[in-house]
């Protein structure tokens, strides 16, 4: 059972949400993704329950980032189906045929999904505050006053309360990424996609960004799909780790098991190489 979240208690990580009869938040069914003749993902099936935090690991080119990009509809799904809260995100089966869903339905689902990118991708033509409030006001239709209040509390949360009027280009990489996290959270997403969010950062600020994400994980019930090379973070935060290679899931399980006692040889080799650096 997921424990009710209480921000005052730095509670130990609650158990993974039970994957019972409840509809999964994300469901991949026979997903295939190809770029031309290059098949990146094949026959991929997995589900993510509400509030679950799943980390995808594996060598580069194994298709982890592609999975996040498919959920965010940044890539065209070439085969199979993705369901968000049980509803088809890109295509559905109608009369035995695979047909695209309407843009309107897709947009309604997409507003529940947020993403933080490796390269931050803040809008340089706007201040930090404007970056955060733009979509809540103009996409979700929130009142400006509420959006600004929310933005200030998020900036507080990511440790940048005095940077609201700063320009993104005047911030360091770590600060930009923290703003990007605030911007994604400002949409109150059900699902948060984290795509190698610390890979472009200086080593000494990686810890700050990860601590903010740990706090988000501890204090909210947001479902997270994480691609990272920070194995310590993956181990602390996630309920489940999935090891990818060549577009397939090689092994999956609880992080304690995957990191201490991986079954598959490919996982052992990968973790040996990655952890060897530390």
């Amino acid at each position: 059972m997921p424990t009710p979240t209480d921000p005052t208690v730095p509670a130990p990580r609650e158990a993974a949400p039970s994957s019972s009869a409840e509809t999964p938040v994300i469901e991949f069914t026979d997903v295939e993704k190809r770029f031309g003749d290059n098949v990146v993902l094949k026959d991929l099936n997995f589900t993510v329950s509400r509030g679950e935090r799943v980390t995808l690991i594996g060598p580069s080119g194994s298709g982890k980032t592609t999975i996040l990009r498919l959920v965010m509809t940044l890539e065209e799904l070439t085969g199979g189906y993705i369901f968000i809260d049980g509803e088809p995100l890109t295509h559905e089966e109608r009369n035995g045929k695979r047909v695209p869903v309407s843009k309107k339905r897709q947009k309604a689902l997409r507003t529940r999904i947020g993403m933080v990118f490796q390269q931050f991708n803040l809008f340089p033509n706007m201040t930090v505050l404007e970056n955060i409030i733009e979509a809540p006001i103009h996409v979700l239709g929130r009142p400006k006053k509420d959006a600004i209040e929310h933005a200030h509390s998020l900036l507080e949360q990511v440790g940048l309360p005095d940077k609201a009027d700063a320009h993104p280009t005047s911030l360091s990489g770590g600060q930009q990424q923290r703003v990007a996290i605030a911007r994604a959270l400002a949409m109150d997403p059900e699902i948060l996609l984290l795509d190698e969010v610390t890979s472009a950062l200086d080593p000494e600020v990686v810890g700050d960004v990860l601590n903010i994400l740990r706090e988000v994980a501890d204090t909210t019930n947001v479902t997270m799909l994480i691609v990272t090379h920070e194995m310590g973070f993956a181990r602390d935060v996630s309920h489940k780790v999935m090891m990818f290679d060549g577009g397939r899931v090689v092994e999956e399980g609880h992080p304690d098991k995957i990191f201490t006692n991986p079954e598959h040889e490919r996982t052992q080799k990968f973790l040996g190489a990655v952890l060897g650096h530390n």
Partner: protein, 271 residues
Amino acid sequence: MDWFEDWPQYFEALNNFSERLIDGLLTTIQLTLLGGALAFVVAVVLGLMAGSPSLWVRGPARVIIEFFRGISLLVLLFWMVYVLPLFWMANPGLPGEDFVRNNFLIGITALGINYGAYGAEAVRASLTTVSKGQWEATTALSMSWPHKMRRIIFPQAWALMIPSLTNLWVHLLKGSAIVYILPGINDLTFELDNLRRPTDIWFSHAFVGLVSYFILALILTLFMQILEARAKHKLGRGPSLREILSPDPKAAPPDAAVPVQQDAAQAKEGK
């Protein structure tokens, strides 16, 4: 220099013609401003269409761009003034007759679509230089197409397209001289031709014409440079206008001073 011995009289002639020359100058300025405004609208609309992933939007835009880029402005003007009215002569009562009879509007329209077709390429090209990450961030925030264009993508492309648009606008200023072939359009070139009669072509065109057009072009360029500096500052690149215009160079941030020095160095090397 016996070459210049008649010039005192010529300046007297210039003085006598000054009223008409100023009228001509105003006509040229009107053609440049209104034609430029129309060209900008045409460039943005066609440029956005030409950048669309849909063939049904991109295709027509490409045909229009290639057609109006490919035909000469002179031919376009002739066509609009002498051929277009034939349709109204053949079909009396067709709407829009006021337009085809108004040579000033014809001139603006011809300048606008001709230079707009060139500008469309500048718009399209600068839209593609906005990084993919920016487009993806707008998708991740579920922004609609008009919203992301207006608020995120176009403001960033704007800083990049200004230098090309400045070029085209100066071209348009000079292209406006061609409009003097239209009956009733007494622009600067037309009035310079009148000035040539009591003086000579060296004085009227090579001196008065050169200086007038050069100053007009210089004003346009300066105005566009101000727009560019402002657009860049909004993207967090380069100093603000106040810093640029400040007499105290220390007011500019140190990193903003570097590109200026580089430019100066490059200019020296170029010479």
